[in-house]
Structure formats: C-alpha cells, structure tokens
C-alpha cells in the first residue's frame, strides 16, 4: 500500500483557539481521536483491531451493543472512515479482512458478516444479515409491543437470519444494499445503487435492483 498523504484533520484542529474553556475542549479532543494510535479503552471490549489500521472515528462503534466476544475482528492495514457504522441487532459478529477500505458501510449484523481482504466499500452502502422484524403481519404486531420501551425485548419474534460473505477483492459501489444470505464471489464488482439479494459468482459485474450480471463496460 502506498504512502498516505498527511492527514489534515487532527493537526488542523489543534490550531483552533479554545474559545470555550476546558470541558468542551476535552470533548473535542476525544472526537475522532483515534487515527492509528489505538486507545482500546474507548472502544467496546469485544472489538479487536489489527495493526496499522486507520479508524477515523470511534463513533463508528456507537451502535455496537453485541455481547459476543469476539464481536468485531478487523484485520491489518484496514481503513475505516467515519461514515461507516457497525450496528448489532441482537448478537452479531463482523469480520473485516486485511487491507480493506470501508468508506460508508452500515453493517447491521445479527449473526455474521464476513468482509474479505482488499475489499472496497463506497459511500452509503448497507449490509443487513437479517430481516430485523418478522414479515408475517401478526408476528410483526407482537414485535412492535416487545420493542416498546417498557416491555420485554426477550419476547421479540424470531426472524430470518442468514450470514453475509463478501469474498476477497470485491468492490461495492455507492448506495448499494446487500441483504441476508448473500455470498459475493472473489473479485466481483457491484455497481452503484445495486440491491444484492442473490449470490454473485466470482469475477462477475452486477448492477440494478435486484442486481443482475452485466457485461463489463455495459451501461447498467
């Protein structure tokens, strides 16, 4: 991987005069602090991060509530920008392979989302390995009660959960959606705006909703 240009964010921030006194300055220093120098204390304990990663913001893990350990396993030299959000729906597990770049992935995991090595995920991409809620109307009605603030979330209804596997060297275009049970083969290209509901063979180029194979260079 080539040498990175100098990061501008944190350096520029230090030059800003403190106009407000200590308390907010501390908060400012906390925000987006972790740029390669890991402070594991402010990440959830079940998040395991490899060496030489770049993580723009700890806010990426704000919605990670899964108690499983390991919960998130991130390989070496992974780049995760602040638009990326890791969310657990119940107990989830997410693994990201070495040298991957996650720009704006929203990963909602109930069971397992596996991202391979050298994967590129562009802006506003959504991964969900479950339906979140039952499709059957009467069960969904019970689900709304179980989700209410004073009720018991143990009574939530079973939903369809199937893990997502993304192979090595896959690129996923902006605003795509990858749904449960999908396996994307190695080296596949998912064009912008695709909705992936079926498996994609290795090396294929897919586009559209639902995503279907197209010839390389053909307009989706």
């Amino acid at each position: 991987m080539s040498e990175r240009p100098e990061r501008r964010g944190p350096e520029r921030r230090k030059s800003v005069p403190d106009r407000r006194g200590g308390e907010l300055l501390d908060r400012r220093e906390w925000l987006n602090q972790v740029t390669g120098n890991w402070d594991h204390d402010i990440l959830p304990g079940n998040v395991h991060i490899g060496s030489d990663c770049y993580l723009e913001s700890t806010g990426s893990f704000a919605l990670w509530k899964s108690g499983t350990d390991p919960g998130i396993v991130i390989g070496d030299r992974v780049t995760i920008y602040g638009w990326t959000k890791f969310e657990s729906v119940g107990s989830g597990f997410i693994e990201v392979g070495d040298d991957s770049i996650l720009v704006g992935a929203r990963l909602m995991s109930s069971e397992r989302i596996s991202i391979g090595r050298r994967v590129v995920v562009s802006h506003h991409v959504l991964f969900a390995d479950s339906d979140m809620h039952p499709v059957e109307p009467q069960l969904r009605r019970k689900e709304t009660v179980a989700l209410a603030y004073y009720d018991d979330s143990e009574r939530r209804q079973p939903v369809d959960v199937r893990p997502i596997t993304v192979g090595d060297d896959v690129w996923i275009g902006a605003a795509s959606i990858v749904l449960k049970g999908v396996t994307i083969g190695e080296g596949a290209r998912v064009q912008a705006g695709s909705v992936v509901v079926d498996d994609i063979p290795a090396g294929a180029v897919v586009a559209g909703s639902p995503a279907r194979p197209i010839e390389e260079g053909e307009r989706p």
């Binding site: 275009g173 902006a174 064009q191 912008a192 909703s209």
Partner: protein
C-alpha cells in the same frame, strides 16, 4: 447579510478551509462538511447566495476536485466525492443520502491509490446540475451525469448520462420517463 455557519451545536471547531467561498446569506450547518476536502485548487468550493447546506453534507474532494454551487440551492445531505468538477446550478434541490461521485467505487482521495485505477480524464467525469434540477433521495449521480434545467431525478436512481431539460429520469438503471409537467 454575511454567510452564516454554525459552530455552536456541533462538536467540530475547525474554521473553513481557505479555498472555500460562501456567498451572502448562505447557511452552512457545520464546517464538518469540509473535513475531507483535500482540494488544492485556489477555489475548491464556491457557493452562491442564499444557499442552504444542511447536516451530513460532505465535500470529499481530491486534490483536483472543484465544486460550484449556485444561488438559492438546497443541499440536504449529499456526499460529493470527486477529483474532478461538480457544478450545481441555482434553485436546485438535492435530497437526502444522495451520492455525487466521479467513479462508481468512490473512496476518499487518500485511499484512491489503493484502488489501482488510472485517474479518469479531466472533463469525462464532470457532473453538472443545471438550474432548477431536483434530485430525489438516495439517488446516485456518477461521472458524466448532466441533468438539464428543471429536470427531476427519481429517488434511488443511478444516472451517468445526459438528461435533457424538463425531463423526468428514474429507476435503477435510470431511464427517461418523459417530460416534466409544466403549468402553462
């Protein structure tokens, strides 16, 4: 009336980059929108008068990136990710979670080298919104998208071609659906 931007309600204290120019009466929610703006152009982002730029808008510009926005335009929260030119006219509306990107697999400029792709020729990947265009939520405009005056792009569409003036384009892949109804 001078441009206003809010540094009180958000946890971001950076001043605007020097190569960003906001016109009179323009509202910017936060300078956080420019945290990925790495353009080295003398004028990276020029915004006209009385334009509103709402939270979560992001100008994710490479060293050659350049964005111009006209007057009375509303940017809800587009992500503009380009190393070329993006030109947004006056009286445009751009809805939520839209992506304006010069390449389909758009990543911030400091990761582009890892893609190993040649930079596209300048000019090929320009994105142009003429005056009074309207972009629906979660639409994606890729390099080469030129939206004509008064045209409408439907929600969730993917457009990388020229849409004539006063035309509706929608779908994934996007198609020309017909003329915009006009009051005469």
């Amino acid at each position: 009336m001078s441009p206003s931007y809010n540094l009180d309600d958000v946890e971001w204290f950076d001043p605007l980059p020097e190569n960003v120019v906001l016109g009179e009466g323009t509202y910017l929610y936060s300078s956080y929108a420019f945290r990925h703006c790495m353009s080295e152009r003398p004028c990276a982002v020029r915004v006209g008068k009385y334009t509103n730029i709402y939270p979560d808008t992001c100008f994710d510009l490479g060293p050659r990136g350049e964005v111009t926005v006209g007057d009375y335009t509303h940017l809800s929260d587009p992500t503009i990710s380009t190393n070329g030119r993006v030109s947004i006219g006056s009286h445009c509306m751009v809805a939520w979670e839209t992506v304006l990107a010069d390449i389909a697999y758009a990543v911030p400029p400091d990761s582009r080298a890892a893609l190993g792709q040649p930079e596209p020729d300048p000019g090929d990947t320009d994105i142009v919104l003429a005056d009074n265009a309207w972009i629906g939520a979660r639409a994606v405009l890729l390099g080469g998208a030129r939206i004509g005056e008064g045209s409408v792009v439907g929600a969730g569409s993917v457009v990388d071609f020229e849409v004539p003036p006063y035309t509706v384009a929608a779908g994934n892949p996007a198609r020309i659906m017909g003329p915009v109804r006009t009051a005469r």
